[in-house]
């Protein structure tokens, strides 16, 4: 049967661990061997809205495994702009390629594409809904930094209300053993109840706080998100909270030495550049792990030999 990757919610604990393992296998291979995995295969990259980072990461992943790429990076000059339906685009493109990566502003677009397509579909972001490869690369990063995911103390920081990245990561981590969470956010951007409810109580421990300092001193991982000005009807409110959840070198003074700071990138000013050179900064390596993880995902879905 055709395999797709549409939503983190479709994956159980074993499947999450398997994906991490696919990444590790790729990482252990020589460049030469890697170039054979998907030699002669073509990936369709359909980006209906721009997301340079994600697209480059997928394209690099495909090229490193000997494959090739076709596609578009925004819908402006395509048949889509002329009003072609997503379904028709998929029915056409599936004939040209061996798998499809799709990013689309509408929620559920990747699921719909997968229902139609006879080749595997990978969701690279569907509106405010899912971005499963981001979550898998976050897990893979943790595995690489700590040698494990189980038992970590993870602080999720910033906009916990609207950040889908954080919701998915929380849901995925809750399936691992004994991961303890600390939700650090301003009162107005707290983790929504429905997101917590969806885990059906599987998270080992959840603490909610507005106190960033305390979280830094008592965590293994700080996962930062951006607090967007648009989320605040009152600009004064924004000014009040934005600095409270900003990370700089001095804030890390009392951090345990093994603490790692992650961020899905791009960052704006929520992490000061003076953090970059500390032992805690892991967000650039995270981007590198992202490409390897996407190699593992592509190899798995396309049936490449690992």
């Amino acid at each position: 049967m055709k395999r797709d990757l549409i939503s983190i919610e479709d994956l159980n604990e074993k499947q999450l661990r398997d994906y991490i393992e696919f990444g590790r296998k790729i990482d252990g291979m020589s460049h030469e061997a890697c170039r054979q995995i998907l030699a002669g295969r073509i990936l369709g990259v359909l980006f209906y809205e721009p997301s340079t980072r994600t697209r480059l990461s997928f394209e690099a992943a495909m090229l490193r495994m000997g494959g090739q790429i076709i596609g578009f990076s925004e819908a402006l000059n395509t048949s889509v702009a002329k009003g072609e339906s997503l379904a028709d685009t998929i029915r056409t493109v599936e004939r040209y390629c061996d798998a499809i990566v799709i990013r689309h502003p509408r929620e559920g677009a990747a699921r719909l594409a997968a229902e139609i397509s006879r080749v595997p579909v990978i969701n690279a972001g569907d509106g405010a809904n899912q971005h499963p490869t981001q979550t898998l690369l976050d897990l893979y990063t943790l595995q690489n930094l700590f040698g494990r995911v189980d038992g970590l103390r993870v602080a999720l920081v910033g906009d916990l209300k609207y950040s889908r990245t954080v919701h998915s990561l929380f849901h995925a981590l809750a399936r691992f053993k004994d991961v303890r969470f600390r939700f650090v956010s301003p009162e107005t951007l707290r983790m929504p109840e429905y997101v917590i409810e969806a885990t059906e109580g599987s998270a080992a421990e959840i603490a909610e706080t507005t106190n960033f300092e305390e979280a830094i001193a008592d965590s293994d991982v700080i996962y930062m998100t951006r607090i967007q000005r648009e989320r605040f009807p009152d600009p004064l409110e924004y000014e009040k909270v934005k600095d409270a959840y900003r990370l700089d070198r001095s804030a890390l003074k009392h951090a345990p030495s093994h603490l790692k700071v992650l961020h899905p990138l791009p960052r704006v000013n929520e992490i000061a550049t003076d953090v970059d050179s500390t032992q805690h900064a892991a967000y650039f390596p995270q981007a590198g792990y992202g490409m390897v993880m996407r190699q593992g995902i592509l190899a798995h879905l396309l049936g490449g030999k690992l």
Binding site: S7, E9, L86, R106, E107, A109, R111, L112, G127, Y194
Partner: protein
């Protein structure tokens, strides 16, 4: 039911009684019946605000028709979950069932999420899954949002 109440709504020889409709929802059911062309010719009698031992007050609707369309029943289960349906033959109740919403709601609803792809493509089939019973929540298979029944009852695809 007391004798004076029976006076208000005639007994039917053959057809269906939709009973134990929470009071106020009778009108919703009536609208639903209007939305199903197969029932447009049927004789309908409506009783509102009956006293009921179970619900305090209830609405009641009688439909004189040979059968109730599958799709109507599925929609009905979403508008008034727990409604009782009695099949009447020769003035007597021949069969009685309590209607509960399905686990899988297959193309009966449009998604309340305006950003959901199913609201922007022609000819898409929607699908919702029952993910929670108390309180009842359904999840759109595409956008993955969860909805309470109250958010879905005016999204019926008729």
């Amino acid at each position: 039911m007391s004798p004076e109440q029976i006076m208000l709504i005639p007994k039917i020889e053959n057809g269906f009684v939709l009973d134990h409709i929470p009071t106020g929802s009778g009108v919703k059911v009536l609208n639903l019946i209007r939305g199903h062309a197969e029932l447009n010719e049927s004789v309908i009698s409506v009783g509102l605000h009956y006293t009921s031992r179970r619900l305090g007050r209830k609405d009641l609707i009688k439909i004189q028709s040979r059968e109730l369309p599958q799709r109507f029943l599925q929609h009905l289960s979403l508008v008034v979950p727990g409604v009782t349906i009695k099949r009447v033959e020769n003035y007597a109740v021949a069969q009685k069932i309590v209607l509960e919403p399905p686990e899988l709601v297959d193309n009966l609803l449009s998604c309340p999420n305006p950003g959901c792809i199913t609201n922007h493509e022609r000819g898409v089939t929607t699908c919702f899954h029952l993910v929670r019973r108390e309180p009842m929540k359904f999840r759109c298979n595409h956008c993955e949002r969860r909805f309470a029944l109250s958010e879905l009852e005016n999204r019926l695809k008729l």
